[in-house]
Amino acid sequence: MHDVESSRTERLSLETIVENVLDQARKAGADAAEAVVSRDLGLSSSVRLGEVETLEYHRDKGLGLTLYFGKRKGNASTGDLSEGGIVQAIAAAAAIAKHTAEDPYAGLPDAEKLAKNYPDLDLDHPWDIKAEQAVELARRCEAAARDYDPRIRNSEGATVTTFRGTLAYGNTHDFVGSYTATRHSVSCSVVGEQDGGMQRDYWYATSRVAEDLQDVESVGRQAAERTVRRLGGRRLSTREVPVIFEAGVARGLIGHFVAAIRGPALYRKASFLLDHLGEAVFPVFMQLREAPHIPRALGSAPFDGEGVATQPRDIITDGVLQGYVLDSYSARRLGMETTGNAGGVHNLIVSGEDTDFNDLLARMDTGLLVTELIGHGINMVTGDYSRGAAGFWVEGGRIQYPVEEITIAGNLKQMFRNILAVGNDVDLRGNIRTGSILLERMTVAGE
């Protein structure tokens, strides 16, 4: 009860600030305005080699606002929510708007798109945990990792964090909305050593509900297991082979797809998926669905970054692109309607044929299983893709040995089309939910 009450009080307090900001914006002569206010509290406790390493108390707040004078606009943000801070930010945004150009597409979203009645998505689950208890959980997590295998010789530590934040958004279409959300996590990273070579890997669990977190010992063991299996990594000779992106890195692959269908990339003609609406982007067995209202989910949100109601929708049906990821500005630029994606997608669910991970390996037979990618070698204009990789060499559908210091390269447009299967080992720890993905062929560069 106390928590429900504290959330209600906090939401009311932030909504009042938003309304005050909008009032003052009108008084400053703005034709339209929008404002977002947030306040977060957090605790982060880290343990390394059995001892507390850091205890961090987080306390953040902020106000962001946009003022419109006709078709000109100005933005300002501040950490100072006092009357003086608000006045200063409004003056700064108004001053900027005197110098920006008339932009026929500028403005608030249409009033009928706003989330007048938005759902309670059950996102607020405070974790009543003291620093000492969090330290103890981190200690148990790291101990489980260090006890897992004698080759685990060192540690970067384990961390337990808890955050709770409230956000209120409003605009001069008489809209104001708010919600409180929590996020808790446990992570662990350890270092293994064998024949003079070191490897580190990590694992983490994250959830809006503390009770739903994977237990801390198993997070630690998984971090250790992932570290130990990388020891003794070899290089590969340069070759073209099928590749499996393990679920954790497959999420990034789907992330590149989302980046390519976002409004700004499209109206700037800076996307390799320009003008692909209605075309087959993925193979026919793949579906991508956005589900913003899943209770307690990490990507859930009742409205987007400009108050537009979020709605479940299909983005890919039988491989074909059904819609873009738009906010109201980019939608107007493209002659379309906002899709409620100001700020990004909300729970994007990837599904294909329901393939077990071991069946994916068997289906690949011989090829590369990628478990880690480093670097940013992606060209969104052309889709050219080249990144550093580590993982495992697979033969006869079985993992043979770890590999490292190689790159994988291809072109995203072809890579998406050449997906052979999607695993059912779905990773739920993010906004994009996908299993491992098998690709027909990529270039591996090595020795």
């Binding site: 390394r48 001892e51 507390v52 390493e53 850091t54 205890l55 961090e56 108390y57 306390r59 953040d60 606009k73 100005g74 933005n75 300002a76 943000s77 501040t78 950490g79 100072d80 700064a92 001053a95 900027i96 708007a97 110098h99 920006t100 150009a101 932009d103 500028a106 970067e156 270092v191 070191m198 490897q199 580190r200 990388r230 990594g233 340069t238 700037r268 003609k269 800076a270 320009l274 480093i374 670097g375 940013h376 070698g377 060209n379 204009v381 052309t382 050219d384 080249s386 550093g388 580590a390 490292e404 210091e405 190689i406 790159t407 390269a409 270039t443 591996v444 560069a445 090595g446 020795e447």
Partner: protein, 481 residues
């Protein structure tokens, strides 16, 4: 650095809520005691503005201000940390109470008498956005846009951004450190998209430093960024698929120094070495690079993006030699790791803001010049890659594997630079890549001032640089096996 900056910091950070040295002393002595052996307060007031042009109009302008204080208590290798965005005594005492929970028992401690610290004077303390009016900023962006479009009809989109920040900080430490710094930073970036026969390519270029907007007007510098961005994009229109596999690579001077940042820089930060998690741990005194290779981290270059008068723990920055004639000689340290490793602090303690903990970070990291002419180095390669512009990079500290991604590269055939190739990621092993440096050019160049380094979720501005380098047997991640 003048006493004036300390006065400026007192006036803007402390005086508005009636804080003075005696209140800081009270907070610090409440922080100290028991097993707490060091504590500090980091006050910060930062202002930021940015302007963005696309489709020929300046349609976005933003202003941001933030202020607050971070309170840190250290006990051995343990750190307690809390911060507040309200710089008032009760909030400071609260934060101190939270931070000292790490190890504090018993009586209050005693702090040392305040000592003025002599930092450098590498940049002007004034607001860097003030030397142009808003109209002048808008017209600067429009001139850059017009220049890019004038150069070639294939230019289909131009995006220009202009940004300035001013960061006023005051560090008060329990050892009596009391020092302030006022840090300007400006940046201008140009991105273009070109189109020919249905093929689209992009190019980007930018620069800046700890100076003011006037920097972009000197010799029409901003227009040269536009020309360079367009040139790169047009080169990419002709690019063929990049090769895949191990080959001899010549890296151009300047920004390709991101190699050093990733391959060895991070691995030589004190925290990883104290913990023994770096591939360079315990390698001091060993040969980690070819003879003739000397690499430094230098925070004292005037007006450079990575430079600081004092670091975020109040220690003057310095030029630290990391590798001398191929031998590993030094690490980059913040206060805590220096003390725990019994080494001197090197002025590398940096933090993103008052809401983040300091840690060892790079400033401007570069390799000193050798004696070979760049043309000779290229001519020495029979078949290989010549890479002159890069995007970012990344490193796995523990395994030592690092990548950096070329955005402009050419084939070298029979000692000559021939066709441009598409962007590709290069991968190597930090502890041995520099042992395969077979030629060092005489053309040391620093980057234009656009680098941002991320570590543990914290971003700080940095610089890199190097002369033309030849590295044998580096893996190039193209598509042509």
């Amino acid at each position: 650095m003048s006493e004036n900056v300390l006065d400026l910091a007192r006036e803007h950070l402390l005086r508005p809520t009636g804080l003075g040295e005696s209140e800081l002393e009270r907070v610090l002595s409440g922080l100290l005691g028991g097993a707490i052996d060091y504590g500090d307060l980091y006050f910060e007031l930062s202002r930021h503005e940015s302007w963005a042009l696309e489709d020929g109009i300046v349609r976005e302008g933003s202003w941001h201000v933030d202020q607050g204080v971070g309170v840190r208590a250290i006990s051995g290798d343990k750190t307690g940390f809390a911060y507040s965005d309200e710089i008032v005594l009760p909030a400071l005492l609260d934060a101190a109470h939270a931070a000292r929970a790490i190890a504090r028992h018993g009586e209050n401690g005693r702090i040392r008498a305040w000592q003025a610290c002599q930092g450098h004077n590498l940049y002007a303390p004034a607001d860097p956005s003030a030397d142009l009016s808003a109209d002048e900023k808008v017209s600067l962006l429009q001139r850059v846009d017009a220049e890019a479009r004038r150069l070639d009809t294939r230019v289909s989109q131009v995006m220009v951004s202009l940004a300035a920040s001013h960061d006023l900080v005051l560090v008060a430490g329990s050892d009596g450190t009391l020092v302030a710094d006022a840090r300007p930073l400006v940046r201008l970036n140009v991105n273009v998209i070109v189109e020919q026969d249905g093929r689209r390519e992009s190019g980007s270029f930018g620069g800046g430093g700890r100076t003011s907007y006037g920097f972009f007007l000197e010799d029409d510098r901003a227009l040269t960024y536009a020309r360079e961005a367009v040139r790169q994009a047009l080169v990419n229109l002709e690019a063929i698929p990049a090769p895949a596999g191990s080959m001899n690579v010549v890296l151009g001077p300047g920004w390709p120094g991101v190699l050093l940042h990733e391959a060895i820089g991070h691995g030589l930060e004190g925290d990883f070495n104290r913990k023994g998690t770096s591939a360079f741990s315990g390698k001091i005194g060993q040969q980690v690079a070819a003879r003739g290779v000397t690499v430094v981290d230098n925070g004292t270059l005037p007006q450079r993006r990575g430079s600081l008068n004092v670091d975020d723990e109040g220690i003057p920055t310095q030029c630290t030699t990391l590798i001398e004639d191929g031998v590993l000689v030094g690490y980059m340290q913040d206060r805590m790791n220096a003390r725990l490793m019994n080494m001197p602090a090197t002025g590398n303690g940096r933090r993103e803001s008052y809401a983040h903990l300091p840690m060892p970070r790079m400033t401007n990291t570069y390799m000193l010049a050798g004696d070979q002419a760049p043309e000779e180095i290229i001519a020495s390669v029979d078949k290989g890659l010549y890479a002159v512009n890069f995007g970012g990079g990344q490193v796995d500290i523990t395994s030592g594997k690092f990548v950096f991604s070329a955005s402009e590269a050419y084939l070298i055939e029979n000692g000559k630079v021939t066709r441009p190739v598409k962007g590709a990621t290069l991968i190597g092993n930090g502890p041995d890549v520099l042992t395969r440096v077979s030629a060092v050019g005489n053309d040391l160049k620093l980057d234009e001032g656009v680098g941002t380094c991320g570590k543990d979720g914290q971003s700080v501005p940095v610089g890199v640089g190097q002369p033309t380098l030849r590295i044998d047997g580096l893996t190039v991640g193209g598509t042509q096996a």
